[in-house]
Amino acid sequence: MRSFSDYLRSIDDAAFLSLFSARPDLVIPVPPDIASLAVRACSAPSLARAIDSLNQWQFQVLEAAGTLTEPFILKSLIALTDKAAAGALEHLISIGLIYPSDDGMRLPTQLRDVIGNEPAGLGPVSIAKLKLAELDNAPTDAMKVLERLIWGPPRGSVGDIKNPGPGVTWLLERKFLVPLDQRTVILPREVAIYLRGGKTHRENLINPPVLAGTKRDERQVNLAAIANISTVLRWVEELLNFWAEEPADALRAGGLGVRDLKIIANHLGVDESCTAFITELAYLTSLISVDSDDRIMPSNKFDIWLMQTPADRWQVLASAWLITSRVSGLVGRAQAKNVAALGPELDRVNASRVRALTLSILSENQSIAPDAPSFIALMNWRAPVRRNSSLQEELAAWTLREAEWLGISGQGAISKYGVGFLNGDDLNLINDDLPKTVDHILIQSDNTAIAPGPLEHEISQQLAIMAEIESRGGATVYRFSEATIRRALDHGKTGDEIKAFLIKTSKTPMPQPLEYLIVDVAKKHGKLRVGNTSSFIRCEDTALIAQIMNDKKLEMLALRRIAPEVVICDHDAADTMRILRESGYLPAAESSNGLMLSGSRKNRALTKPRPPRVIGEIEAPSEDLLNTAIRAIRTGEKSSHKQTRLRQVASEALGALPRTTANETMDLVNRFIQEEKSLSIGYADNNGSVTHRIIDPIRVSAGALIARDHATGEVQSFRIPRITGVAPL
């Protein structure tokens, strides 16, 4: 009989290609030869990954195969399932979960461990010969017992095995139930399959469930998506501009506090889960950085990002989102421990897999906005919920929500931008389809200005300093107030500059009250000047000095008047400024040589951004890489084959202990476990001296070979690294 590695040696490049495409972990890193490739392909983690890629039907067929004794043939597999099993079997072979040996189909050794001891809820094979026809006439008591065990789990508990009920007794007598211990009985596989009507599963889920949903108009979908795209770009920009002004403090354990999250949610006018999503986007794309003082600030990359076209900006965000293992949906989930955005607890292994699956379902069903239950049903067929997948349904729901926020979908159905993005097409159409930017605003006499569309970047940056945003969307409504004008002055603008800018930008004449507001604030701005080290307040206006000296709100500053125009105080300048401002004054800072300290500010973190690492999923390698890998393995195979031959010749000549490389050891061990043959091994003891043992291998588990030692007759475990070599007897 052929082993799995023999099988691998026999297949052509095309088969390798399809194997590696389906299981990229086999070539990352590229294994030196086929023996090591076989070992990796038969290792439990790799098998588990491969099983994760199966759909419900393929998994059913694999389970059915798991119930058969090896070697088996297609016909018996079909008997247990359905004619369609042939197609599934072909797929299972192509990804190396079943392989054709010379005597029939076989499973890689550890596969049974991975799919579990009770595939499809079936118990072990009966040792005794059974007369299954008797089951047709089983008494009612026995039928009741059987009904409970038939669809698994096959184990049932009885009060006391020595004193069972009449049904159990009838079954035990005919070996239709086998006692496991004092209280447990188990239903043998044959009995269950017989009672299941000769099939392994109640229902063969050959075809995927049909996706139900609302049919959407393609034009509306794309319109909605482009609106979402422009919104998400605006959100990210506004978030970072906000943090540039007021950096958030990272929590000691890492991440963003609930309070800061709420502040941003409020600022952006979105809910907290959306805010968490936006902050995570910025984090994934290195647009933010945590500096040495644990402040979260925009990084230099933000400025570069801002200079890109909208399509490029969007692609940066969408690409990072697509592959990340971080799940922003976990933030602030009801009835769960609070998980911080940007924190260390957001990684989930299957996140990007579920995301990719969700998006592929969306793109296979264009112009349909799926209904949630139907979507989940299809999703669970495509990727049956197994280990680590407890979050699968929530992950899918979050992905749908986030795809909408990103504009990959619009009105719930995938957009042309989403399709283009997933296919890796040129996304320039986003630039063309985004609403044209406008280069003007309309100033109205109620001190608001309206940008009737997305503003040109330069203008919106300037306006953001001079005015407060009151309403967002396709258009932006800005409101001017004393505070916002003061902020612009604080940024180093003069009153005349502000006026000139607004007159130039506004399509409507500047209302007089706004002009007065600017002039008034500019006139007052900087009248009060506050020093930094030995903080002082200076003002040429003695009445104003009198006013602040008398202001009860300023009592805490303990002001002292040292000259008609100068007041000093013991607080540091920043506090003084703050308190003065809070009390309604308009102070400005002053340098040691009497110059006003104000200038344009753009806060950027000095530290290098450290985006989170993607865990869990392995990115699919390109075809070139796969071909290179195949060449490398073939070359490695040739040379290691030669070496093995040389070593064998040498050892036969010397009559010494068997010596094989680690990979050859595993390969041989796997083969002998299947063939149930004894073998001779060299095994190093605790002191490093190598002894010769004759053993019957049983299985490999947790880095050890479980085998019966002929010398002692006991089953013991041999640590695989200590096995110096294996040879057949």
Binding site: L223, A224, I226, A227, N228, T231, G269, E404, G410, Q411, G412, P435, L442, Q444, S445, D446, N447, T448, I450, P452, G453, S471, R472, G473, G474, A475, V477, E482, T508, P511, Q512, P513, Y516, L517, D520, K524, A543, L544, A546, Q547, N550, K552, K553
Partner: protein, 549 residues
């Protein structure tokens, strides 16, 4: 993307570009479900609120129509979340209905038992309910009709009220349109109200709200209780009703501090209704003891709290609220809507102005520089006296004098808050003063003299803020006010908005002390009018002295 006039923002505001050719059409289309928030010169702001959407449902519009309208006129893609929200909000309306049952009286009926189960478990609702009749029906205490509607609204499950209104005691009333004609918007407002059953009509000052009231009475043809702010207003209502309707003097009664007449049409003041005798409201019975077919609340934005409470108990009578400025600095607008009824008619001031029904007005802020001494006084004043200190400066008096002189020959009102200041002004200018303690009789004489032109200038305190009809006043000079009250500013402007015989522009001066909180308050006061499209012009006091304006 279309090139529509409407921009739907993600915060549920709608921006309407009024320079767009489709703007009028679009305004008509969105008016049934969106509330007008601001209407300055270029872009009007509307807002989608649950209340507005439910009112639209009540008026027979469904979610699909609303969504279609938004998509049709929108310049950019309408955010999907808003479409979903509109559909969801509107679908909540009408699941609960209040009906009059011949056997059980007032009942709450549902088409969705889950909703009924939810609301009857609410703590605020349970005490208002009677016995459960069947799975879909529960009795409601008839006296709690207002309270239950209010609470259901807060829970987000508004009840559609099919219980109807009592007709009240019939009384024939007709409009008499001999030498005048009801204006189209007044007719629309009255009809909008009548079809809706109850509600609030918002019209600018001077746009003839009394006539909307009279038209509503002509619809109701029943005994009517009219609640007004003060006695002068009561008498003006009476004059108007005599002039515009078939009613004669004997049919109209005044229920005020001085008279207690109850007639088919009774005009009562808020003051007398809320007067307490031995700790109880002695006159609130007026609501109950007569079978009124209609209750009109004039200047509904001033509705005092006890009246609110009582209004909740008379939900089976038709209620009409009238106001120009439904902004309350106490934020009680919501209460007005749920107790009197939703807004049934609203129109931008500037639109009425463009139709010529109110006089065009120019708003001018005159900034005066304080003298050095005044500044020092202001600077050292206690915080609670600061506004007074800067609002009543001597410098202002000179400006007022110059302004009055400049407008000699026109009808001028000088309006202020502080009596000392007004006393001084009255003395300086040599004109009579009307204030709180001026007897009604004397007030009436002075107002009449002003109307006939015998006096051309009057100094008035806040007693003249509302409901005083002075058709020929063209100039108002405001020297001080109730801090930053937006509606006071609008009401004061309203005193001079009656259309002038010669089509003259009215002028509204505010005299403000520069660089003080007077200026800050002025900014807040001006917000409402600025949002209505009035643009303020700022000039310097020196310009007044030099005659540059």
């Amino acid at each position: 993307m279309t090139d529509g006039p409407l921009i739907v923002q993600s915060d549920k505001t709608l921006l309407l570009d009024i320079d767009h050719p489709l703007s009028t059409e679009c305004r008509r289309a969105i008016a049934p479900f969106a509330e007008l928030e601001r209407s300055p010169e270029h872009i009007h702001t509307y807002r989608l609120t649950p209340l507005g959407l439910w009112n639209a449902r009540a008026a027979g519009h469904d979610a699909e129509q609303v969504i279609d309208t938004l998509i049709k006129y929108s310049r950019y893609a309408v955010p999907h979340s808003i479409l979903i929200d509109v559909a969801e909000t509107m679908s909540r309306y009408g699941r609960l209905r209040l009906e009059a049952d011949p056997v059980h009286g007032l009942i709450l009926v549902t088409t969705d038992t889950a909703v009924l189960e939810e609301v009857i478990r609410a703590r605020k609702i349970a005490p208002l309910l009677g016995a459960r009749i069947d799975a879909e029906t529960i009795a409601v205490l008839p006296s709690q009709r207002g309270a239950i509607k209010q609470s259901l609204l807060r829970l987000g499950w508004p009840a559609e009220d099919f219980a109807g209104y009592v007709d009240g005691q019939a009384h024939p009333i007709e409009l008499v349109q001999k030498d005048w004609k009801i204006r189209p918007y007044q007719e629309l407002a009255a009809e909008g109200f009548w079809h809706g059953g109850s509600g609030v009509v918002v019209l600018p000052c001077g746009a003839g709200k009394t006539i909307v009231g009279a038209a509503a009475m002509a619809h109701a043809k029943a005994t009517t209780l009219i609640l007004v702010t003060n006695t002068i207003a009561a008498r003006q209502w009476r004059e108007e009703l005599l002039k515009r309707t078939t009613l004669n003097e004997d049919e109209i009664g005044e229920y005020s501090g001085s008279k207690k007449e109850i007639r088919p049409i009774t005009i009562a003041t808020y003051q007398v209704m809320t007067k307490k005798k031995n700790g109880v409201y002695a006159h609130l019975d007026l609501f109950d003891t007569h079978d009124w077919g209609l209750i009109i609340y004039d200047e509904v934005h001033l509705l005092p709290a006890p009246i609110f409470r009582f209004t909740a108990d008379i939900q089976s009578r038709r209620r009409l609220g009238l106001t120009a400025t439904l902004v309350r600095e106490d934020g009680m607008e919501g209460e007005v809507f749920s107790l009197i009824g939703p807004k049934r008619y609203d129109v931008p001031w500037k639109e009425i102005e463009s139709q010529g029904y109110i006089a065009p007005a120019e708003c001018i802020e005159v900034r005066v520089n304080l003298t050095e001494g005044e500044r020092l006084l202001y600077a050292t004043a206690e915080p609670e006296n600061r506004y007074r200190a800067c609002a009543t400066t001597r410098t202002k008096r000179n400006v007022v004098e110059a302004l009055v002189e400049k407008h000699a020959g026109e009808q001028v009102l000088v309006i202020g808050q502080y009596i000392d200041q007004l006393d001084e002004l009255s003395e300086t200018l040599g004109v009579p003063l009307i204030k709180g303690d001026t007897p009604i009789k004397e007030r009436e004489i002075l107002f009449n003299k002003f109307r006939t032109g015998e006096i051309t200038c009057l100094v008035v305190s806040k007693v003249a803020n509302f409901s005083i009809d002075l058709p020929d006043a063209t100039i108002a000079i405001q020297v001080s006010g109730a801090f930053g009250s937006r509606q006071e500013e609008a009401q004061r402007l309203g005193r001079i908005l009656r259309p002038k015989a010669d089509g003259r522009t009215a002028k509204f001066y505010s005299v403000i002390s520069r660089d003080t909180i007077d200026q800050d308050f002025a900014q807040n006061r001006q917000r409402f009018l600025a949002e209505q499209g009035y643009s303020y012009k700022i000039i310097d006091a020196d310009d007044v002295f030099q005659g540059k304006i």
